[in-house]
């Protein structure tokens, strides 16, 4: 009987590994970075990779959403905005747009990355909006910061969403003579709004 490709591959692997016992490496002693000021480090990293950081202190009496909408309007007056806070991206058309505002789960200090998952963005069918927008704004609570990717990966363990991504700054490329160009094919601008 003809062996399936799957069986061929698996049996070749077993053959190659016959008699070998390679244990997992010990992970004690691996220094996990501890930042004294994780939030400050995260902001530094966001700026280092071409993003902007804006602190949004909620004015008393206003609710978060209204306040944020006003902030966005201030930053990008007259632009078309898909405001996907408290609603998923599914509510919007799947097409290029000037500004997209989305909630991020948490921030990673060592590289300024923001975890954005489809749990906050609905069914994730319109996750491509994250890349079709010209200007992406990520809203993250300033208490939601972890130090390193070790902690970040632990944190996303329970995540059941079909799609999630760590976004670190705007899109970029250095493919032409290694000249760094901010704004390649994804968003040309990225703003982190800390609440």
């Amino acid at each position: 009987m003809k062996m399936s490709d799957r069986d061929k591959i698996l049996s070749a692997i077993r053959q190659a590994n016959q008699g070998l016992e390679i244990d997992r490496p010990a992970s004690e002693g691996v220094e996990i970075l501890a930042f004294k000021e994780p939030l400050a480090q995260a902001c530094r990293m966001v700026e280092a990779v071409g993003g902007e950081v804006v602190r949004f202190d909620r004015p008393t009496g206003f609710d978060m959403e209204t306040g944020l909408r006003e902030l966005v309007e201030q930053m990008r007056p007259g632009c078309e905005v898909f405001f996907a806070i408290n609603r998923g991206m599914d509510d919007f058309e799947r097409r290029p747009v000037e500004v997209l505002v989305v909630a991020g789960s948490f921030l990673v200090a060592e590289n300024g990355a923001v975890w954005v998952n489809s749990g906050q963005t609905g069914s994730a069918s319109n996750r491509s909006l994250l890349f079709l927008a010209e200007h992406l704004m990520l809203v993250v609570g300033s208490a939601n910061v972890v130090g390193t990717m070790h902690e970040a990966c632990k944190r996303i363990r329970g995540d059941q969403s079909a799609y999630g991504t760590f976004i670190s700054g705007p899109s970029k490329t250095a493919d032409i003579e290694q000249a760094l160009v901010i704004g390649a094919q994804g968003p040309r601008r990225m703003t982190l709004i800390l609440t």
Partner: protein, 445 residues
């Protein structure tokens, strides 16, 4: 179009320096490298187990997992998926695996329009040439070359070679392709067995756009890409971008854990010679490679000769080890194009002993008779001389007495290829041994 013959010393050095800058910003590299190497070695040792776990988890998420034992089957599978869904245009982000399998020409022959969307890949696709680096495919080109190319093919302004302008033009040109393609294809940087998810690390946004906008996403991975858990993934996510370009992270690190409603996710697991490498103790650790390109950037040979000179999609030290496995007749010269300086092994984030494997290949090639006969004869003769001290000493003495007297024209001429671009050095009057003996004698007096 004249190919730019690659003196990549300047651009590769820049990458090398960027890496140094990035690597020393965090945990002492030795410990993290040790851990990374250990995780990979353990995973390879239990690869069947982890691949099966990955397949189970991915399938439970709703992804469709396929297996391909060779390039041919891989290409056929991609075509089958595309045809069965009536796809005629495919957007593709960078995947060295698909280069290795020759996917593009196969699909084009079968009537599929293939658009490479990574900027560097698109540039070389338009120029109809292969990539010269695994991270920066167009590293061999200057901005003027790209400016000319875009003027010709995309109708951009003549004489404008500003990288920002050119990138924006490419963005406009490619965007429409994303919005009209029937499917998107990507590689896989890491596959996590625990979650059944695949990880894509990119900077431009084209990878994610291509994978999330069209209704079908095909992800191609080599068997060695799997990692056991998310904790293991963290180690590699800290290392990959830093090792490749000195960035703390790529702009996008995306986890695809199954299709979203209304779309499909296909994962193709490919062998294509990897199990054979796994079965060879001397070379199996080369499967730990995460394709960061650090070895290329540091290699003095790669920097001087460029990626195209290797004649294989993956150049540099890692390419010189992988290529002869593919075809040891065609690529038999690659392990010899090395100074064995060991810088590659020094920079490798997963501690592959690259320079030792290159040396091992030389031994294997000689053993299988791949060395050209002229070289074999010389090596044999030299071996004889070196094995008999009196022959060596006498021969050397004779050479020192006579070689300098031979007329130059007898040695430096068209018949002697070694002298093309080289001058025969003058032989010294005495050998080192003679000098040392004499000095000892003088001291004792």
């Amino acid at each position: 179009m004249t190919p730019y013959v690659g003196d990549l010393d300047a651009p590769a050095t820049l990458q090398r320096l960027l890496r140094v800058d990035g690597v020393f910003h965090f945990a002492p590299p030795p410990m993290l490298r040790e851990l990374a190497a250990g995780i990979k070695a353990h995973t390879l040792g239990h690869l069947d187990h982890y691949l099966e776990e990955f397949e189970r988890a991915a399938t439970a998420n709703g992804a469709i997992v396929h297996w391909a034992s060779d390039a041919k089957r891989h290409n056929e599978l991609v075509l089958e998926i595309l045809r069965s869904r009536g796809v005629t245009k495919l957007v593709k982000s960078k995947s060295m695996l698909t280069e290795e399998c020759g996917l593009n020409p196969y699909l084009e022959l079968n009537g599929i329009e293939v658009i490479d969307t990574d900027l560097g890949e698109r540039i070389i696709q338009l120029r109809q040439e292969p990539p010269s680096h695994i991270v920066l495919p167009a590293i061999h080109l200057k901005r003027g070359d790209v400016g000319d190319l875009f003027r010709e093919q995309l109708g951009t302004e003549a004489g404008n070679d500003d990288p920002t302008y050119l990138t924006n033009q490419a963005r406009r040109h490619l965007r429409n392709h994303f919005l009209t393609a029937g499917a998107g294809l990507s590689g896989v940087n890491f596959a996590v067995a625990e979650t059944g998810g695949i990880i894509l690390c990119t900077n431009e946004g084209n990878g994610d756009l291509g994978a999330t906008y069209p209704p079908v996403h095909i992800a191609c991975m080599g068997i060695e890409k799997v990692l056991p858990t998310l904790d293991d993934l963290a180690v590699f996510l800290r290392m990959l971008a830093r090792s490749a370009t000195g960035q703390p992270a790529t702009a996008y690190t995306s986890h695809f854990r199954g299709p979203v409603p209304g779309s499909e996710l296909h994962i193709i697991i490919v062998d294509n010679g990897r199990t054979e490498i796994l079965s060879k103790p001397a070379y199996r650790s080369s499967l730990q490679c995460i394709r960061c390109g650090a070895c290329l950037n540091t290699c003095p040979v790669y920097r001087r000769s460029g990626g195209h000179s290797y004649g294989y999609p993956i150049p540099g030290p890692i390419g010189s080890i992988l290529a002869p496995h593919r075809d040891d007749r065609r690529h038999k010269s690659l392990p010899y194009a090395s100074t064995l300086c060991g810088s590659c092994s020094n920079v490798c984030p997963v501690k592959v002993n690259l320079h030792e494997q290159i040396l091992h290949w030389r031994q294997d090639l000689v053993a299988s008779g791949r060395l050209p006969i002229f070289k074999r004869l010389i090596m044999w003769k030299l071996g004889e001389i070196m094995n008999h001290r009196w022959l060596y000493d006498t021969g050397g003495w004779l050479l020192r007495k006579t070689a300098n007297r031979i007329p130059r024209s007898l040695i430096t001429n068209r018949l002697n290829p070694w002298t093309r671009g080289r001058e025969m050095p003058r032989f010294p009057a005495h050998s080192f041994k003679e000098l040392a003996k004499k000095r000892k004698h003088d001291e004792n007096e």
